[in-house]
């Protein structure tokens, strides 16, 4: 048993982190959110070129040939950078949807009863609708887009559309729907994990620098313990996400999603609290993380569903 990251895994993580630092620094992140969070096609292609979407396709078919653990490490980084876009759905569709692997295509996620993010930009739609998981594209997709209504999105990084009953739109049914849902949940959980980690770092940095009552606020137990609580939320979630990526077990993935959702949301809230009034401004980044964390909590597998999956696995 070796739960440590391998050299290759560390290098992979450093690579994507470097790419994002260069191509999606804070200014660009803010700019992307100010313009409504559409997908940056050039960056999408760069990610494609770096193997982000093709990561798990076999080398024989032009993929990188890596596994779910490596995907999870990459998604943690895009979550940390708050990169907008349907990253999980696109990676899952790589090898099925033309151009997805290369970053030429954007594959959005559509779930029954929920608004669809990035619909207008989507080249295909991964539809989770009851037990039928399918890809909707071409004419059906155009028809769907035509009938969709834009939603004033809570998340400035994710344009949303309200769509009609999804069952009316046919597409290529995917045989391994259960696996896709499980993996989608896990990749979203990894993004949540990255977000939770970033919130913790931001809180700690602020607590070290901000002075009140003659001392850095991080010297006060109230603030100190908020920060400690954030780490205590993030670390078990991290173990759960990484382990589920290794085992691919759906019950473990449910645990990972549940804990990572909670870590992302609650760490963002605590980070906001540590920042005080400044955390309540639009200028601060923390609200962007909170809103995205709320969005992702409602995707792939909700807390209620995860708890039922976990309960069913007991006894």
């Amino acid at each position: 048993m070796d739960f440590q990251l391998s050299e290759d895994q560390r290098a992979l993580r450093a690579g994507i982190r470097g790419l994002l630092a260069g191509r999606f620094d804070r200014d660009r992140m803010r700019a992307a959110h100010e313009r409504g969070g559409g997908v940056d096609r050039a960056l999408w292609r760069e990610l494609g070129a770096a193997g982000f979407f093709a990561l798990r396709l076999p080398e024989a078919t032009g993929g990188v040939g890596l596994g779910l653990p490596e995907s999870v490490l990459m998604f943690e980084e895009v979550g940390r950078a708050l990169l907008p876009g349907p990253l999980a759905a696109t990676q899952l569709a790589a090898g099925v949807v033309k151009g997805a692997a290369e970053g030429e295509a954007v594959v959005a996620l559509a779930e029954a009863g929920r608004p669809v993010g990035h619909l207008e930009e989507a080249d295909a739609l991964l539809v989770l609708d009851g037990d039928r998981t399918r890809l909707v594209s071409g004419g059906a997709l155009r028809r769907l887009v035509g009938e969709a209504q834009p939603v004033r999105s809570l998340d400035p990084g994710t344009p949303l559309w309200r769509v009609p009953d999804l069952s009316a739109y046919e597409g290529e049914v995917l045989p391994d729907g259960a696996r896709l849902r499980c993996e989608g949940a896990l990749l979203a959980a990894a993004e949540q994990l990255g977000s939770a980690g970033r919130s913790l770092e931001a809180a700690v940095q602020h607590a070290r620098e901000r002075e009140q009552f003659g001392a850095p606020i991080g010297a006060f137990q109230a603030v100190k313990h908020l920060c400690a609580g954030m780490l205590v939320r993030a670390e078990p979630a991290r173990s759960a996400v990484y382990a589920a990526a290794v085992t691919g077990d759906p019950v473990e993935a449910a645990a990972a999603k549940l804990l990572a959702d909670e870590a992302a949301v609650d760490n963002a809230r605590d980070c906001l609290q540590v920042h005080g009034g400044m955390g309540f401004t639009w200028e601060a980044d923390v609200h962007l993380r909170l809103k995205r964390a709320w969005l992702r909590s409602g995707q792939w597998l909700t807390a209620a569903d995860a708890e039922e999956v976990l309960a069913a696995g007991l006894g």
């Binding site: 929920r114 939603v151 109230a222 005080g276 309540f280």
Partner: protein, 385 residues
């Protein structure tokens, strides 16, 4: 213990209800949140109606032009206006609830005569220049300085979280007049004209996307010494006096509104089927207990203020700690009622409220500061650490 209202109180309520029923249908349409002149006119109009009907400055002492109402009458006023959907105090907030009472208590006869009547009639609006970006929770460490120059103070610095700065005529301003004194002892309270040269207002966008607040930059603004209320360097005490007007009524309207929201959430959950989710249903039931208790605690605090003559109540910290938390819970429950889809739609009711609720544990004293206050001033635990 008698929760029934007296005949006099019930008569007050009945008259108020009747008046509200007669006047509210004739109000103009509510202005757009971004239309500041429209908002000012709307709020001024409402205040004038209150004035003409004898409800302006209900809780102010009679010798300041107020009605000298009891805390219970004030509670009834706030409860009924909220129930009836009457306009909020809006741009009159600082004048009626902070600056006005401060001037009434600490101002000279001339200052009272100059500033109080226009507040009651809705003719002049005030804003508050207390908070500073670098001071934060440590309000008394404010750095905006005022240097005496003849009959004026020359004021420079930066203020933040100023509501209605765009339309206010006056600003109640805390400034440092003695940089050498201990931090609470070098502060003075000034009334500053918002159209004075050197005052720049910049809207401050919150995470809810709104611009309810502003930053205010002061660059050598001249404020006549005669606009100082209270003695020089005595501004901290002068400001604390305002708090003595807090008679447990600060959140009456909000608690009434929260209870109405909770009922609406239950109705919506019954409509959309989520009522069948026992976890959600019981969560709403628990929130009902919380808001019922907060309503009773409000009555308790008001009753206490009435009995004690309105001495500053640190009991407000206990209320605020619980209320801030429970109101955030309310909007988390609202998101559950809406479901994973609708909770992301800013045009759906409750979604913006959920965002706004994030400030409750921060604004007007963070929960961390409030806990210190409760522990030290009510429970008598040692200061320190």
């Amino acid at each position: 213990m008698d929760l029934a209202y007296t005949e006099e109180e019930e008569a007050f309520r009945a008259r108020l209800r009747e008046w509200l029923g007669s006047v509210l249908p004739g109000l103009p349409a509510k202005p757009d949140p971004g239309d500041w002149p429209g908002r000012r006119a709307y709020d001024a109009g409402w205040q004038r109606l209150l004035y003409d009907a004898g409800y302006a400055g209900l809780h102010w002492p009679a010798d300041a032009g107020g009605r000298g109402a009891t805390p219970t009458q004030h509670l009834i006023f706030l409860e009924e206006t909220e129930r009836a959907g009457a306009p909020y105090v809006g741009a009159n907030f600082v004048g009626l609830l902070h600056a006005g009472p401060t001037i009434a208590a600490e101002g000279t006869a001339e200052q009272r005569a100059r500033w109080l009547p226009p507040v009651l009639r809705g003719e002049e609006m005030w804003c508050q220049g207390f908070s500073e970006p670098d001071a934060g929770s440590d309000l008394a460490s404010l750095r905006t300085r005022a240097v005496r120059d003849g009959d004026d103070y020359v004021v420079s610095g930066q203020k933040i979280w100023t509501s209605h700065a765009e339309v206010a005529d006056w600003c109640e301003l805390l400034v440092r007049t003695d940089a050498q004194a201990p931090k609470h002892r070098g502060i003075s309270w000034l009334a500053m004209r918002m159209d004075a040269p050197g005052v720049t207002v910049r809207p401050l966008r919150t995470l809810a996307g709104s611009t309810e607040f502003a930053e205010m930059f002061l660059d050598e603004v001249r404020v006549p010494v005669s606009h100082r209320v209270g003695a020089e360097n005595d501004g901290w005490r002068v400001t604390m006096v305002t708090l003595s007007f807090e008679r447990g009524t600060a959140f009456v309207g909000e608690v009434v509104a929260c209870r109405r929201t909770l009922d609406a959430l239950a109705a919506e959950a019954r409509r959309n089927g989520r009522w069948d989710d026992a976890v959600l249903r019981r969560r709403l039931g628990r929130l009902s207990a919380e808001f019922r208790a907060l309503w009773r605690l409000t009555q308790w605090n008001v009753s206490e203020a009435q009995a004690s003559g309105g001495v500053p109540g640190i009991g407000g910290s206990v209320f605020k700690l619980r209320y801030s938390h429970v109101r955030q819970e309310l909007y988390e429950a609202a998101a559950e009622v809406l479901g994973a889809g609708d909770a992301l739609d800013l045009d759906r009711e409750w979604v913006l409220d959920r965002l706004s609720s994030l400030s409750y544990t921060i604004a007007a004293g963070t929960s961390q500061i409030q806990r210190n206050i409760v522990a030290e001033r009510i429970l008598g635990l040692p200061k320190g650490r």
